[in-house]
Symmetry: C2
Subunit: 351 residues, 2 copies
């Protein structure tokens, strides 16, 4: 059955309508400490009022086997059967871990995602990636399984920090660049830091549909889905370096900076328009600042890129754009090309 | 991609042929203490010689989260990536747990099943059920994911106890009854306790293909796949009672006895031929003896049947046969009907 995506800021009604039409004998809702406090009481759903609540600790460090075990035990306590339903109400940790717990409980029960962060709405809640971190590696254990329904809203965004908002918007920007020049222009012109919930929901709808289209073409990430890694080869290297230096950065920021470096590559290799490269760089610099690197960091960054888990052969692999909307996944990048791109990234970021 | 089933007693060549055609960067083989000692050295495969071996403890009590964690860690130690392959070489515990570990490692890597017991060949290795026991419940956590290839042989059966052989043959008998009257007659006429490996492989091929056909029609057990529960409603109750009494019985024996009781129901409700009922009962009695129950046990057995995990509503639900090959899944059985069936089961088993 195709995934049912609902875009609305009346989350309670949407959820009740979905659950009315879905026969089930038990309902469990998975929240973290934050969404239990800030979001759950605000969703005035008939069904949720009677649900068994499973609360997990907030934060990526708790996206682990111990929390997963807690959720499986919670589902047993709830008396969940194959005819039960799980609602994941939270950010990416809740939707990833809760989705995996549901997908594996009694060999799989239905789950509904209600992402409460911009990042999880645009990224983690759609596309069927579920999982946990394991053995020190991110998302090492997991599965591809889509939520039966996803309710996407912007009404919880007031509960987010500005950093969380920006992190999510960077992924929207990525989808915009994958989609078309018009969409790219629309996104960099929008004052997202002072967003109106309904306007932002419209932008979010367009953005999520870009991802949905790509995922549908390639559910198990064998080909075109790698387009969604735009900005991520360099971004992951920045993220890992920052973590290693004891100064972790938010994922979306890393992607924003990574996109600048990868659009430099796109310009140098495929002729991505210089004007768009500069507009992107200015937008990123104005909203995200810069990730500071020097030439002395290049060797370490290149080593990280060679070991990226998306790399199958040890080569540096990037999705590039010939223009916004003209996507070319799977480019092998030489060390020299990457060094030049990092030089120009530093120029564009005024480092 | 459809599952590739290979029937052969030259397991090493079959495996090498499969792996030659499957590009992969690492190979891990999962065995238990028994198959590591008795089977692994006997499979003279080029590929297996270089494989990373992960050895788990033998027995259903080790089909748990702790062993699963050990296998995930073993895959990390092996340097497994999405392009790696897992070979499960063992009985149902190895194929169920190893399959689940592979299905969830980095969101799923290919695995090949080489069942080494008759029961796992006929039952667990085909059909995509993977999983572990959790919270005291069997197969509570798991997933539907098929092995890419299954190599089915009878050459390891000499490593089995007579009890293991009988347990597997009961499931073959079940498939025969689901399939046709001819197949039923062929199976009860065969001297399986003194089986020739090649003859038994032919019977096994027919039996596995019955299951494969049913699973293909209904991969997620929403309808006709419940036919495979023939004998299991009563069988599970016998198994649970025996476990509770501290005298556990093998699963296949429980199914054999359960089939007798359920064919009594089939006779009483759908007119399953009396002659076949008696032939089945005589075969089961001669080869499996009887599970001893008295009228005093009926209440406890009925309670167990009402709580069977396949039951969605608390009603007793059985797959019945109007005749061999004429399958009627999803019959609701009243307590009175079941009491009468248990009475006749005792008569037929000379209790």
């Amino acid at each position: 059955m195709p995934q049912n995506l609902v875009f609305t800021n009346d989350v309670a009604s949407a959820l009740d309508q979905i659950l009315d039409a879905k026969p089930h004998n038990r309902l469990a809702v998975i929240v973290d400490e934050n969404t239990q406090r800030l979001v759950l009481p605000a969703v005035k759903s008939r069904h949720l009022a009677d649900a068994h609540v499973i609360t997990i600790k907030a934060g990526d460090s708790h996206k682990n086997l111990s929390t997963l075990t807690q959720v499986w035990e919670g589902l047993e306590e709830a008396g969940a059967t194959r005819r039960s339903v799980v609602v994941n109400l939270g950010g990416g940790v809740v939707t990833d871990l809760g989705g995996f717990a549901a997908a594996t409980f009694k060999r799989g029960i239905d789950f509904i995602n209600i992402p409460t962060t911009l990042l999880s709405a645009v990224d983690a809640a759609v596309g069927g990636k579920t999982g946990i971190n394991f053995g020190g590696l991110k998302n090492e254990i997991g599965y591809f399984r889509e939520a039966s329904d996803v309710i996407i809203s912007t009404c919880f965004l007031a509960t987010l920090s500005i950093e969380e908002l920006k992190s999510g918007y960077a992924e929207m920007l990525k989808h915009g660049m994958l989609s078309s020049h018009d969409e790219f222009c629309r996104l960099i012109a929008y004052d997202f830091q002072n967003a109106d919930a309904e306007q932002l929901l419209e932008l979010l709808r367009t953005s999520v549909l870009v991802k949905e289209r790509i995922v549908k073409e390639d559910p198990h990430e064998k080909g075109i889905r790698r387009a969604l890694n735009l900005g991520h080869t360099v971004g992951h290297a920045f993220e890992s370096k920052a973590l290693h230096d004891g100064k972790p950065i938010a994922h979306g920021y890393a992607v924003a900076w990574g996109m600048v470096a990868e659009m430099v590559l796109s310009h140098n290799i495929l002729g991505f328009p210089s004007q768009d490269l500069h507009r992107l760089a200015d937008f990123v610099h104005a909203n995200y600042g810069a990730f500071h690197i020097t030439c002395d960091d290049y060797d370490a960054l290149l080593a990280l890129m060679h070991h990226d888990k998306k790399s199958q052969s040890g080569e540096i692999n990037c999705t590039l754009l010939a223009a916004c909307g003209d996507v070319r996944p799977g480019h092998v990048i030489s060390d020299d090309e990457m060094r030049i791109a990092l030089d120009l990234y530093r120029d564009l970021m005024h480092i």
